[in-house]
Structure formats: structure tokens, C-alpha cells
Subunit: 260 residues, 2 copies
């Protein structure tokens, strides 16, 4: 028996998130169906994180224990043959017995994609948040930089979470413009419920000039009402997961799909 | 009563081409349904061309006679409110009474998009043709250049067409690489049935080294069996239609969606 780590990309439009749901199709269920066709049994799989309905992944990580002696490098092709084309296995590698895709992660990086355009585009639906009003890039970059560090992010957590320790460490948070797209890239050791979407929704309020409160004050308020609205799910991409494996630099060797 | 020209972009994945089909959903039917909700009646609309099932459009053109005194510039917003988001009206402008979106066109430009990559990408499905093998860009550029001019393109017409005059003038045909994508751009005064898809299929055979015959000979053969296979529909985009209107340079002022 060996423990295996798969990297997977998926377009989340058709799915109600990664984790198995009653009465709704999840990425995990579809993935386990494909795995069962390859292996003959249905192993319990560990996903690196829950994802909301409609959220995408460029480098999602899944680990599971393989009972049968199948060479690891043959798994991507074999599993992809049984997956719909909106879910693709990118790579497989052996990991230590105790490895767990979620609990072994030391950091995760998300990308949020805003199409900042007044124009109509039938090709981007479900893949970004379209914001028509002009956005000041520099104001958003300053606000993002102010969120970097170890803070209480309670202002950026949706109601309904049972989490009580709301302190997280954001190691990187940048905003860049690529043509008519804005890319928000954030890396942190962990995230509160909807934290990235509320951070992006707040930055867009700041960039549009509707919110004048400095990010430092929004954080210090530790109150959901101080922050902006939650940005829609369809702009969010789980980009990569960092692990400390075999003395590699965390994140090395875990491939992912790159956004165009 | 006034004659109106609309520019429309659509993702063709869900549709069986533009023209109305019995027992299959077409872009035209969905467009007319939306138009009827805005106008109260259902005008006959003229599309600039037939398109195959799954083919996309960045700047498709539709003309129709408007019976009601609605300001032209209000049409895009009004019609878009009743269209699914994979069809978007980009602009509207008045045109002379006798204008016809198809018969008044003097040239049309298509773009064909190949994802030249061995990797898996769940975000590009339906939007390009993925070719895994290496392709020689220079060989394809030379072959494309050899197709420019006034030629008998009978080698590049699918069986079943009733057309007998197979001479067309290609004014431009280029191949460029953008990251892992290859873009084939062709402009001609008219096209034979499946001509762009067979030209691209042939260039890919040439670029991969499987076809050694020079483009000049493939054209001279005037025989479908001399050319390569037909490239899949999902990589093809009707890019823009050229008209000679109001002394404008043809094509000026007709907006279109740009590929990322």
C-alpha cells in the first residue's frame, strides 16, 4: 500500500464545490467515480480544501492510499480517460505514508480574476467577475500590501463559520493588470470562510472609490460589516498548494495549469 | 422603417450553428426569441454566413428591418437583457435600406485557434483544437502564404456542396504563435464549404511533418483527397465581416471581441 498525491485542475462551473454533497454533484464524487473505474475499489480521498460551488482550481491536490500495485506515473492518463474534460489530472507522485493533502499543507495560493471591461464577452462567463466601472490599480495594490502579515482577519469571514481563531498569516497579496483583466494573487497559511472573496470584494470597493476606509482600519475593526461585499465564486481559482516534502522547497514540483 | 446592422459575439458550443434548424437549437432562433421580447414582433433576420455546429463568432453580423421607432443605440442593452450570456450584442448601427448582412459583405475574416500543448487544460475545452505533437511554425507560415491569391480551392471543399465555381480570393493568411496557442488568421472574399477548417487541417499536417506536399501542388490538384483532414469546429471563430459602408474603410467601426 502506498500513499499518492495527485495534482488536479478543474473548471468548477458545473460542480457544487470539491467536497461530496448530498443531492448535488461535486468534483470529489466525479473523481471517485473515475478512480473506481481504474482501481476496482473506491478509496477514501483527501482534498486539500473545501471549495465553493463554481470555484475553479489550477493545481488542486488530492491524496489517497493505493491498495493495488499500480505505478504512480500511470495514474494521470488512466484516471483522465474516465473523467469529464472539465476535470484533469496533471500529475501524480508518491508521498510518505502519513501525508494528508489538507493537513500537510503549509500554505495555499489563490488567484482571483476580474474582467475590468464595459464590453460584452460571451467567452469569459463563469471564469471571472466582470466589473464595468474603472478601478484604480494603485489604490488596490496599496490596500493589498496592507493586508500582508499576521492579522486577525475576522472582518473577512462570512457569517456561519464555527472558527474562533481568526488570525491568519498572509505572506503575499498582489494585484496586477493583464490587458482588460486584473489578477489578485494571495498566499496564506490558511483562510477563513470566504476570506479571499471578501478581500477581493473589498479591494474592488477601494479601487472604484466607493470605499475610502484604509485597509488597516478595516482589519482592525474585526467586524464583517467594515469590509466590502463578497466577490462572486466564478472569479476564484485555487492556484497551488505548498507542502514541505522530501526537503524540496515547498510547492516545487507540483505542476498547475497557467491562466491565459 | 429602418434597416439595422448588429454585431454579435457568441460562444457556439451550445448551438447547432447560426442558421435556423429543425429539431436543433440555433443561434438565430435564440436571437429571434430575444428580439421578439424587445420588439413585440419577430422580424426576419439576415445572418452574414452559415456557421457549423460548435463554431464561435467574435464579430458576427446580423441585419434586419426595424418596424418600430426604437433608437438604434438602445438595441444592444435591450436585446442582451433577453439573451443567454453566451450570445452578446456588441453594437448596432443604421444601414441603407438595401443592405443585407450576407450579400453586402465584401470579405470575411476567420481565426482558428490551436492549443499546441501536451498538457491538460480543463478551461479550454470547446474553444480550440488541442494538438499535442510539435508543429513547425515556419513550414506552416510558408504554406499559408502560398494559399494567398486568387485560386481554385476545390481541394479544400467538403463533399456535399452544390457550389460549382470553386475559385476564391484569399487576401491574407497568417500563422502566429502566442504562448502555447497558434493563431491562424485568414481573410477572403468568400469561402467554400469547410474551407477554413480543411486549410488549417492541412497546415497542421504540414507543420507536423506528416504532409510533405507543397501547398502549391495541393491547390493545383483541385481534389479533396490531396488536402489534409478537416480541423474540428471548436477552434474556428468568425472574426469580422467587411462591408463598404458610407465610404468607411471596409470593416472600420464594426467592433468585435478580442481573443485573450
Amino acid at each position: 500500500m502506498s500513499n499518492v498525491l495527485l495534482t488536479v485542475a478543474f473548471q468548477g462551473t458545473a460542480y457544487h464545490g470539491f467536497q461530496v454533497q448530498q443531492n448535488a454533484l461535486s468534483v470529489c464524487t466525479v473523481f471517485q467515480d473515475a478512480l473506481e473505474k481504474v482501481l476496482g475499489d473506491r478509496p477514501d480521498v483527501k482534498g486539500c480544501s473545501r471549495t465553493d460551488s463554481g470555484v475553479h482550481a489550477l493545481g488542486y491536490c488530492i491524496s489517497f492510499h493505493l491498495e493495488r500495485p499500480i505505478p504512480c506515473h500511470k495514474l494521470p492518463l488512466a484516471i483522465n480517460a474516465h473523467l469529464p474534460t472539465d476535470i484533469r489530472v496533471l500529475s501524480a507522485r508518491p508521498v510518505p505514508e502519513e501525508f494528508h493533502a489538507r493537513y500537510s499543507s503549509i500554505a495555499k495560493q489563490y488567484v482571483y480574476r476580474v474582467q475590468n471591461s464595459q464590453g460584452q464577452d460571451p467567452f469569459s462567463r463563469g471564469l471571472c467577475w466582470r466589473v464595468g466601472s474603472p478601478l484604480n490599480l494603485q489604490l488596490m495594490q496599496q490596500a493589498a500590501a496592507a493586508a500582508v502579515g499576521r492579522h486577525d482577519f475576522a472582518s473577512f469571514m462570512s457569517a456561519g463559520s464555527k472558527i474562533t481563531d481568526t488570525v491568519r498569516t498572509v505572506t503575499d497579496f498582489t494585484v496586477s493588470r493583464q490587458g482588460e483583466y486584473l489578477l489578485f494573487t494571495i498566499c496564506a497559511d490558511g483562510y477563513l470562510y470566504n476570506m479571499v472573496r471578501i478581500l477581493v470584494g473589498t479591494l474592488v470597493e477601494i479601487g472604484s472609490g466607493r470605499c475610502k476606509m484604509p485597509m488597516e482600519e478595516i482589519i482592525a475593526a474585526a467586524d464583517r460589516s467594515a469590509a466590502g461585499p463578497r466577490a462572486p465564486a466564478e472569479g476564484l481559482y485555487l492556484d497551488r498548494v505548498y507542502y514541505d516534502l522530501d526537503g524540496m522547497r515547498p510547492g516545487d514540483g507540483v505542476p498547475r495549469v497557467l491562466l491565459p
